[in-house]
Symmetry: C2
Amino acid sequence: MQYHLNGFHSGDPSVAPETAQSDHVDVLIVGCGPAGLTLAAQLAAFPDISTRITERKSGPLEVGQADGIACRSIEMFEAFDFAEKVLKEAYWVNEVAFWRPQADGKGLHRADRIQDVEDDLSEMPHVILSQARVHDFYLDVMKKSARRLEPDYNRELATLTRTDDTEFPVTATFKCLDTGAIETLRARYVVGCDGARSVVRRSLGHTLKGEAGRQLWGVMDVLAVTYFPDIRLKCAIQSAEHGSLLIIPREGGYLVRMYIELDALNEDERAADRNVTAEMLTEKARAILAPYTLDVKEVAWWSAYEIGQRVCDVFDDVPQSDRKTRTPRIFIAGDACHTHSPKAGQGMNVSMADTFNLGWKLAAVLHGQAQPALLHSYSQERQAKAKELIDFDRDMARLFSAKPKNTEEAAQFQSYFKKHGRYTAGVETRYEPSNIICKGAHQALARGLKVGMRFHSAPVIRLGDGKPVHLGHTLKADGRWRLFAFAGAGDTGQPNCQIAQLCQYLRNDVASPIKRYTPHGHNIDSVIDLRAIFQTAHQEVQVDSLPDLLLPTKGRYGLIDYEKVFCSDLKNGPDIFDHRSIDRARGALLIIRPDQFIAAVQPVGDFDTLANFFGRFMIPQ
Amino acid sequence: MQYHLNGFHSGDPSVAPETAQSDHVDVLIVGCGPAGLTLAAQLAAFPDISTRITERKSGPLEVGQADGIACRSIEMFEAFDFAEKVLKEAYWVNEVAFWRPQADGKGLHRADRIQDVEDDLSEMPHVILSQARVHDFYLDVMKKSARRLEPDYNRELATLTRTDDTEFPVTATFKCLDTGAIETLRARYVVGCDGARSVVRRSLGHTLKGEAGRQLWGVMDVLAVTYFPDIRLKCAIQSAEHGSLLIIPREGGYLVRMYIELDALNEDERAADRNVTAEMLTEKARAILAPYTLDVKEVAWWSAYEIGQRVCDVFDDVPQSDRKTRTPRIFIAGDACHTHSPKAGQGMNVSMADTFNLGWKLAAVLHGQAQPALLHSYSQERQAKAKELIDFDRDMARLFSAKPKNTEEAAQFQSYFKKHGRYTAGVETRYEPSNIICKGAHQALARGLKVGMRFHSAPVIRLGDGKPVHLGHTLKADGRWRLFAFAGAGDTGQPNCQIAQLCQYLRNDVASPIKRYTPHGHNIDSVIDLRAIFQTAHQEVQVDSLPDLLLPTKGRYGLIDYEKVFCSDLKNGPDIFDHRSIDRARGALLIIRPDQFIAAVQPVGDFDTLANFFGRFMIPQ
């Protein structure tokens, strides 16, 4: 954490100095779910962007439906600086147990027990925590931001219209559910994060396409006494006669979530038609778990739902045919554009990833840093990923509901479950080449850091203070691009070596993206933030002889920022160069997007390619 | 974190359900410094204890003097559940550099650079963070407690009298500095945490004894630009001509603290007589750092002080001669009973350790669990430690101020500095044998876990959910005693093995301390909390066949607590048995005090010794 740059202030450093509010709305976010709050927290990082976020409900969520938090989401929470709060309160999914009928068909036995997340998939674990708490942490980030952003509750979106106004082309009217008044807002951009029954989606004329669910499932959070031995492990249980049960232990050490297979629905039936009750779910869970007893003491929450996998064709207001001539002003995200079953634990995670993708793009365009055409990439990138998710979820749901005819089929489910660990961890997302994702011609320079995928962190030592840190944790949700320059052999930043030449170029060349795109008077790292990583022990790098750009002077006093340079951690295990297969002889330069995705891997000395990359979508200042 | 035991509640789990306030005062704490707040936070853990804490100042501290936080203090913060907040905001002291004059007497050179804290001294680092922030975290713990404890500011203690009242024998009068009113309070116990000019100490007639300081030092927190390369490392700098300087980088990446040697004071002089200014300090620092430049942009805080090492003979209101006939009602802690120089970074840490020692004892006596004579041990244990600190500090200050005549003398300072790393980390504290610290006849069963010292944590796997955790982090500041039963070879908790026999004894025997001292209707682990640690892989321990006491049913629903059993972490490095030299053949039983100190190491099967230990000071229920 860096603070005190512009003078010493006492108190909580996570609270930003308050800025004046403005009347206009740059971005209107409809809906306070995970997608809406991720976007609001992202935009709150920018004191000059005015955001409004509205919610139909009368206050913050108290009991959440979603609870599975993928490794990738916690990496993102780290960018928002609240990962440690989630890690503290959450249940950690360390292992998964698979239970199947005994050979004689009577009772259950543990067929396998495996690690839930494979080693070094992420520095973060897979955890379970009430969605309501995740909301709380986002609300806290928003409230501490310069604009002290808080949701407007009791606002039901009535109409949404795109006008010809060039500045504020979207008009929204809300019914205030507490007072009955009608409120009208004009905004530059609107993002509909208003769930599966999205009014924003409807106003765009988009529909969710795909299969409606036919398989009925029940879910309940219970406080219960059982001597089933794996009650504090994630368990997939397939009984001989009574269907399947998924056990997900919850935070706090006592609460347990159970997903219970119910019957298939008829063609024209909805979940509500079956009059499912908590007692029915309890009965069914008991039958599946037998001969283990289950004594439910309290049902904290329960629901019944049908599995459906549906997705919109496009996530903004520009039809395919118009994409060359106009840029989007209205977007949809999260459940508003894709729905799926909850069991793979993907809903909340994918929704947050949607708006983490969108937030920095909106900010870059609002700041006049990037061309508005950049906004097309949101629907392009995220719609493709939503489609992938729907397909995955459909396979998964089918396998889960299929009654295994024999041991082979049961084992098949188990193997599928394992194989998709990476997918459910959220770290498999790979965006296709575009003007913000290079083709990866130089991928061989850093084989473990894939172009189009999120930067996979590894430990390093920070040079200035010798602190062991995770390199990826420098990737904060602050809208900045990062250049990670991994030095080749023997390069410790001394003059004439490659890193010094890169700094020389970035600092002085007229074509340098740092020079071209950083507004006058802003800190030199405010748009593109260079970090260097050396292979040598940190004691051997001379701070005195580093290039200026790696010791930049910043803020009103011109204080030196000592957190730009890192070295291999040679004391503990393989260093980052080995860990991520970085070419030790040649080094590598990574261009990393503000959402932590790797846009390019290229040679350190290939300045033209670097300049060309940013030239495709940035606006010179 | 465990919660939802007595039913599901939404919201922040660190906020306790509120209890009714009472008019009487069990413990009155005078002073809101680190000692006072540690005690208040400790007592706030008990809804049935009524605490008041008063402060002369009109509100919370905003700019703190102390900043060094020893590893041991962070271990304690973990017990109060806010270690992660400190770790996040603080500067981490990873290395220390020693600078000395060049051989030709001109300029400086780095003579050495060493790791600040040796490996595996603690799972926590040595950090630097403003005392004000530590206060904030304690205040937060207090405010979230059942009694929503908050300080009464603007209260200046006027008089303190011990009366003959058997219930509330101490009467305090306060002047309310905001209203001018006089307030009278009667309390069962009073603890003076009111600093070096303690009114409580004066009311007891105690005095600080020792040497007054003669060496003048300046200290300042600055935002500055310098090309001195180690400005983000802790540095001890000895110049040829201008004296010594200690650089302590501060939190946030930019702020730096400098301790600057000034002149020796004359016999009758005080620091204030010298009219020290921030400019003088800056000039002096500049001279010491030359030829490196120092451009101070802002002085956030500064002070000048003389070094003095003084301590009281006794830390309570019972003279040595009366200790057999009466028990203490008034205590003093922190600067009220010991003062020392700030440079060794011990003041705040030792003050917090004082009241962490006292808090659980007060709670145990107020709860009727322990005999009031237990309270004698506070002064006995902590006065001895304060004395040690004073001696250490005197040596350290002398060495720091001594102008090294030659390289050998300079190297001597350096070696002393290294040697005392353990001491300054706060982990060397060892209490003498007493009725709450055994003599250590069986120390050989766990050579790395010393009787009289704090439990030195190590990683283990929690059986119930397979989570890698630190065993020491189960030692929360909740007033409970812990029994850590390390199983001998082959013992996995199955019937007839040693652990099962221990459980059988503790559960059923009339002499069992759990049976004798746990009040009727309380959870079975509410006074003495048994945990077992097995040597085998956690996958090999059968949860179903564990003794009841290791799967206790608790709370209004009788829910099972699955967090009592741990196993060796065989995947990562040496396991806890190797790490802490625990006898693999015989195992070991540790009795751990509520303040994390090891009271006894004994054979697992020696039930009589176990019963006798608690019999010395506990009261049967």
